[in-house]
């Protein structure tokens, strides 16, 4: 997030919420939005799915799934045509406006109506609301990024914020809401194939030299590595022989899980380190028992770049150990140097040394100040509630000229529905924690598919309780929920459930840059299960 959650209740005058089921997926972020609404802030929701927060919206638009670039360009078209753009910001702080306008001028509200199915006048109203109520914050989640056009979508969102000067001021900005509690931190720490901690590229000779000297080693690899999905494929092709998995469950979370299983089974050696015997652990050669968040010390970094202390409350069960301890002990067995840590605090001291944005982070400060928002380059620095205050990291902010592209797999005669996947309020990701929490499981014990009543009639549901949902990759049987929440032609399945995993159906078409699978769209057919 460029900005901070507490700024929403304090400063924001307009929210544009897209691809985020905020009230269900991030309830306590939603509470800041509601508070803002009470003092008069406007809410625009643009989402193909009916999301709860849509009911609170001043305007609620439901585009055809996968048309985000088109309607984002449409909003910009209206803002520029009606002279609502922030000229001063554009002149002083950005470049590339002309090239962007060359593309955006083609996206008139009428053309966007044809592509996305949003009434032209509604798009105009939304554009005016956003541009005329500053500071305006854009909130988005996986609904925007899980597409083959995910990177384009995110760039278009940045375009819109810059066009209206909604960057570098409190209560505005571009704010991705992270689904898992430490996605932000895992990225910050270099848990990515192309960057060292602090997003220092592995291809940069300076970064390489820096880490070689900090770690006391030579010959750090200069080629970016493989992503999760690429590693799974490489395992299937025999390129990758060993995989070490710490606390992830790709057998539920990855696209096309039949394929994932086949690939993982080909590995010569698979290690899974987890708190539960997950679906992925069943395929392992060695399983190591780890400590849960309540049983270890450390830090998490939440979605607004907020670094906070995790504190040990109780001992882990049996012989389970914290993941950091396990890595240090394994390093010793391997004869690897530089892992002689006796506490997470010592590890953080090393992180601060090599990661400029964490330079001023110490446990002492976190204990005293509660949390620190990066960048916090030195121990004197108070942290950074919002980014890009006077300038962008690269100097001038760049507008990107982006055309709309269709999704990789569109519905056709054989597979006439668009399947989109997501989360529910009560379950969490692969479900290995929430499904073992009685109250959460009781609220949402069973997988289901949401279908519009008119589609139910079309497929001849006739009172059947279950349907078979099939794509080109697999099929699952699930209970039906009829609801207007979902548009005709679209079906929704939450992905938490291993017994009817939505990801048996999804496909691994990747965004060319961010390499995110296109979870939000694939083509399926739906047939009633007779006698159910």
């Amino acid at each position: 997030m460029t900005n901070s959650i507490p700024e929403f209740s304090q400063y924001t005058r307009c929210f544009l919420i897209t691809g985020s089921n905020t009230t269900e997926a991030h309830p306590l972020i939603a509470s800041h939005v509601m508070e803002a609404k009470e003092r008069g802030a406007k809410i625009i929701v643009i989402d193909p799915r009916e999301v709860q927060i849509g009911r609170l919206a001043d305007i609620y638009l439901r585009p055809r799934p996968g048309t985000d670039v088109a309607w984002l360009n449409g909003l910009m078209n209206v803002i520029i045509t009606e002279e609502l753009a922030d000229q001063e910001f554009i002149e002083k702080r950005t470049e590339g406006f002309e090239e962007m306008w060359e593309v955006v001028k083609e996206y008139t509200p009428e053309r966007v109506e044809e592509i996305a199915g949003i009434p032209a006048d509604d798009l105009r109203v939304a554009a005016r609301l956003y541009a005329q109520n500053k500071p305006a914050a854009i909130l988005y989640a996986m609904g925007i990024t899980q597409h083959t056009t995910g990177t384009d979508n995110v760039k278009s969102i940045a375009n819109l914020a810059m066009l209206t000067g909604n960057i570098g001021i409190p209560g505005a900005g571009v704010n991705p809401l992270r689904g898992q509690n430490n996605v932000q931190g895992a990225c910050d720490m270099g848990g990515l194939p192309n960057v060292y901690p602090g997003y220092q590229p592995v291809t940069s000779p300076e970064a390489k030299a820096k880490f070689e000297s900090a770690w006391g080693v030579e010959g750090l690899p200069e080629q970016p590595g493989l992503t999760v999905v690429e590693m799974v494929n490489a395992a299937g092709e025999g390129q990758l022989r060993a995989l070490y998995i710490m606390g992830e469950n790709p057998m539920v979370t990855d696209p096309d899980i039949h394929h994932v299983k086949e690939c993982l089974e080909k590995l010569e050696f698979l290690v899974v380190q987890d708190i539960f015997p997950t679906e992925t652990a069943q395929l392992a050669h060695v399983i190591l028992p780890s400590a849960s968040f309540a049983e270890k010390d450390g830090t998490f970094t939440s979605t607004d770049r907020r670094i906070q202390r995790v504190r040990k409350a109780v001992n882990p069960p049996g012989e389970a150990k914290a993941d950091w301890e396990i890595i240090c002990e394994l390093a010793k067995k391997l004869g690897a140097k530089g892992f002689e840590f006796s506490s997470p605090e010592e590890i953080m001291a090393e992180i601060a040394k090599v990661t400029p944005s964490y330079g001023g982070v110490t446990y002492e400060r976190l204990d005293k100040e509660g949390s620190l928002q990066w960048p916090v380059p030195s121990v004197e620095h108070p942290g950074t509630p919002y980014l890009h205050k006077e300038k962008f990291t690269r100097g001038l902010g760049r507008f990107h000229a982006i055309h709309f592209r269709e999704a990789a797999e569109l519905p056709d005669e054989e597979y006439p529905f668009i399947l989109t996947t997501g989360r529910t309020m009560f379950q969490y990701h692969a479900g290995s924690m929430s499904r073992r929490s009685p109250k959460l499981e009781q609220e949402a014990p069973e997988p289901y598919v949401e279908i519009n009543p008119s589609d139910a009639e079309k497929i001849g549901l006739n009172g059947a309780k279950k349907v078979k949902v099939s794509s080109r990759r697999g099929s699952i049987e699930v209970a039906v929920r009829l609801t207007d929440r979902i548009k005709p032609g679209v079906v929704f399945i939450p992905f938490h459930y291993a017994e009817a995993a939505a990801n048996a159906l999804t496909h691994a078409a990747l965004d060319p840059i961010a390499r995110i699978p296109e979870y939000k769209i694939c083509a399926v057919k739906v047939e009633p299960v007779r006698g159910s």
Binding site: L28, N194, V217, I307, P317, L330, M433
Partner: protein, 135 residues
């Protein structure tokens, strides 16, 4: 009887709400919201209130397990870690560093993610390290 409230962070979504784990004689007895927290301000959602419900689940792994044929047998840490070290070194020496991959985790701490990528890069000399950020 020894009672304490331990301030920590919710393990579920990225909002990062603050909560106290209530501990009585070394056992978790409940969760309390943290009033002073700038995001959660003394509130929690249903997931946060149930943040520790899975911690003592009977399914928790308690010992290292090694596959033998179609099933797993319990092993000591020493045996399990020695086996892992031996296998990883053997695979690296036979097929090269790019034949090994690591998944770090959005559920683990910063310190743990840091260490795993450091092990992959500095010792095994591979950048094959990623997590489910995209998923």
């Amino acid at each position: 009887m020894e009672y304490k409230n331990v301030l920590t962070v919710c393990p579920y979504c990225g909002a990062g709400c603050g909560l106290y784990i209530q501990v009585l004689d070394g056992e978790i007895v409940g969760v309390l919201p943290a009033k002073e927290h700038p995001v959660s301000r003394g509130k929690l959602c249903i997931k946060g209130w149930n943040a520790t419900a899975f911690v003592n689940h009977p399914d928790r792994l308690k010992k290292p397990l090694i596959r033998e044929g179609g099933s797993f047998r319990e092993a000591s840490w020493d045996e399990a870690l020695s086996l892992i070290a031996e296998k990883l070194l053997q695979i690296r020496d036979t097929y090269g560093p790019q034949a090994i991959g690591f998944f770090s985790s959005a559920k683990c701490t910063n310190e743990e993610n840091y260490l795993l990528q450091k092990l992959a890069r500095s010792f095994f000399k591979t950048n094959n390290v990623d997590h489910c950020a995209r998923l």
